[in-house]
Symmetry: C2
Subunit: 467 residues, 2 copies
């Protein structure tokens, strides 16, 4: 291979400095998950193809990476495809080849594998089952800025409990994670029940998903959604109602006015789901305020929030950064009543959240919020002056490492300038110099790479000098 090697489009290498930053994000999230009683779970990168297909809609199905069968299984797949499709219609042949030459695929998200896991292990699990999962997922999407074919998801879910205390707890998890990361955020909430109530009120429940998908665009395109409703052929009555609703929503305190108005109308018309949706939202927000003793500012209702995913049935969340230029959400989630039903286990209500690690990374980088010392880097480099000095340094090196300090000895006897450059490039704080003189006198010259200052200390005092 003469040409420079490369990697598949939409995938990334993570260099050491990127890795240390990513680890900082993952570790912060993981520590909070554990503090809230969530336990780690990992599932295989590959799932059986039938576990994944039919779960993400037609578009999602197309984006699943399939694993090619091997050896004789592949040959027999091609034979069968030729048998069933003939060889004249190449498109039909391709389609049946495709079906018969893959029985496994890479996971598309962590939610479906989690549901599969819960059903498969239902007799061993303690419910409510609280798990977190931090693993990559793969989607054959067209790559673009901020959209990759391989990316990590960080999910936490509680399954097997209908209590709204779980929603409260997940809100607290979100707030604590971003507090730890030092990032100002807004948690927005809505309820699918409330949206269903709207559907009943305006008589659009036969097209509820479509109705809700358009509403979800309000945050991006504002009142233009009214035009979208018109184009989609919703009735004049709906358009009038939506317009008034959105006008109010755009005003300060209009959110609350909408809620009060809706509650009154839901009650009048006996629309239970709508009433329940509002009551649940208020209960969750009360719980969060009660636990944290803070006011409403960081947790608010956004009646236009809908979230695309089909499976939500109760409260839904989305988190926006209040710093930096990123508009899209950096965390989201919600309540789902029938996630495991697709695998034959009914009545398992759950609620979960998912952190967007890549987006959080971008915001922290843009706003300069990564800590200066991410940990994990070498603190002290012993310069190499040749075999005798190096052998002597090995002993000191061991003492320094035993004190818990990350340290290394430059392996080759090269010019000092090169060794200093190595320390500089790697962000090493101190260089310990033990040449012939230092060796004789039992001292070590310590150079502070930031200030350039050098001082000689007794070798026994080295650890103290750099701490």
């Amino acid at each position: 291979m003469a040409t420079k090697p490369s990697i598949p489009k939409g995938t990334r290498d993570f260099s050491p400095v990127e890795m240390l930053r990513r680890k900082y994000i993952f570790t912060t999230i993981e520590k909070v998950f554990q503090k809230y009683g969530f336990l780690p779970l990992e599932t295989p990168a590959m799932e059986n193809l039938e576990t994944l297909t039919g779960k993400y809609g037609e578009e999602g199905d197309r984006l699943i990476f399939r694993i090619q069968e091997r050896g004789r299984t592949f040959e027999s797949g091609v034979s069968k495809a030729v048998e069933s499709a003939g060889t004249t219609d190449l498109k039909a042949l391709a389609s049946s080849t495709r079906k018969l030459t893959a029985s496994e695929a890479l996971r598309y998200d962590l939610t479906v594998p989690f549901a599969r896991y819960v059903v498969q292990h239902q007799n061993e699990l303690v419910f409510p089952f609280k798990r977190y999962q931090i693993q990559p997922v793969w989607r054959a999407d067209q790559p673009q800025k901020g959209r990759y074919r391989e990316f990590y998801q960080c999910d936490a879910d509680v399954i097997g409990s209908k209590s709204l205390l779980n929603e409260v707890d997940l809100c607290l998890v979100i707030l604590e994670v971003f507090e730890e990361l030092g990032l100002d955020v807004q948690v927005q909430m809505n309820s699918r029940k409330l949206l269903q109530g709207l559907g009943e009120l305006w008589n659009v429940n036969d097209r509820l998903v479509e109705f809700v998908m358009i509403l979800d665009k309000f945050d991006k395109i504002g009142n233009e959604v009214v035009e979208e409703y018109r184009k989609a052929g919703f009735s004049d009555m709906v358009i009038r109602e939506v317009s008034a609703f959105l006008d109010l929503l755009a005003e300060k305190r209009g959110n609350q006015a909408n809620i009060d108005d809706l509650m009154r109308r839901f009650k009048e018309k006996g629309i239970t789901s709508g009433c329940e949706g509002i009551e649940e939202l208020l209960w969750i927000q009360d719980g969060v305020v009660n636990a944290r003793g803070v006011a409403w500012e960081n947790v608010s209702t956004n009646l236009a929030l809908a979230r695309g995913l089909d499976y939500y049935t109760g409260a839904i969340f989305e988190v926006k950064a209040l710093e930096g230029t990123l508009q899209s959400s950096i965390c989201g989630g919600g309540r789902y009543d029938d996630l495991t039903g697709i695998f034959g286990l009914k009545n398992m209500s759950g609620v979960g959240i998912s952190f967007g690690a890549d987006r959080i990374y971008d915001v922290l980088l843009e706003t300069g919020k990564f800590p200066a010392d991410l940990g994990g880097s070498t603190k002290l480099l012993f310069a190499n002056f040749g075999e005798v000095e190096a052998m002597h340094c090995l002993k000191l090196l061991r003492q320094v490492r035993e004190a818990g300090i990350a340290a290394e000895l430059y392996p080759d006897q090269v010019k000092m300038a090169k060794q200093f450059k190595y320390a500089d490039d790697k962000g090493i704080a101190y260089v310990a110099i033990i040449g012939e003189n230092e060796l004789k006198q039992g001292i070590v010259t310590v150079k502070d790479m930031k200030t350039g200052e050098q001082k000689a200390v007794a070798q026994a005092d080295l650890i103290g000098a750099i701490q």
Copy 2:
């Protein structure tokens, strides 16, 4: 889907308790890597197919998981295959379909992606480049006990330095990792240069790989390897020499006698590689002893050690557990002089080691060496007595979590027996009970789940009571 879902053969789900144990192993290894100046790197799960093929031998190539092309690329692949192979010879059709319908594949190990990364980013890297990488790899091997299609590798490598100090440092890493894990091990070393010297001495260098592969079986099948040499058609002289060599090796101190004898004969015949191999081994072992001040016991030479992989050119390592029943190695590695040559970057000598996390897991489990408290688990559960009590508990829960203690509130108001069972099953140490009485009196009843003991403390003293 009515049948119980399952996962592809050879893959595994890792339950929370398994995950906590695995994290303990990975974290221990990672901390040592970082303390020795290795920095993290991650590469994508998928590599371009051409990056991987031709690197693992014919057998390895067959075990690479290929990603099926999508949509029109797949259709056009099938069309081209039909064009080139015709449709009468199904085997030929299958073979050309296969070639034209995959251009990406899952990584087979971490070494080739690492070499690819170094070549691709050679102008940005600081050499010597010390990186560690802990990621899963995939192989379409026939699954069996202890052999999986998805498993993690934990590698550390230094590339761009020929100094033997790197070998010393990696030996120290190995010893420190297993010290931290509390496991007694034996690090065995040999040198490919020494083996090449043997080849010259016995005149088998035209069949060196074959010769070395047979020798490598000595630890498993003992003197039966002599029979294997005979079957493979090696000359009577070789058989005689090998027999004497192995007889001596089997004796106490025979290893040293062999080394002394070989050194003398290498010198007599001017076999430089053999002399170098022995000198290097002695230098590395001296370095380790010098750094740690320990005697030879845990680091020894094993002249029959060969390690299968083609690319080693200098020192090679293998680690065996001295506790438990596992015979195979739990860590291995060595020096390679031309890993990046396959991607067009010559003269980049490197040395690396790889920990076998699955095997280490098995040994620690068998020998009962996992710590009782792996961390990460909930320490305190607040029982749920209904909405009023729960809302009150939320405040205390926050205080407990702020003190860094992992804690949760049972989300549902169910029978106490069920809540206690949840705590038991999840290994939670304490349950905090705040019912109507406790609420009135401002106290909390704390139950120690291990002893069953209950005591009432003021709510303000809760944290102290469980610490």
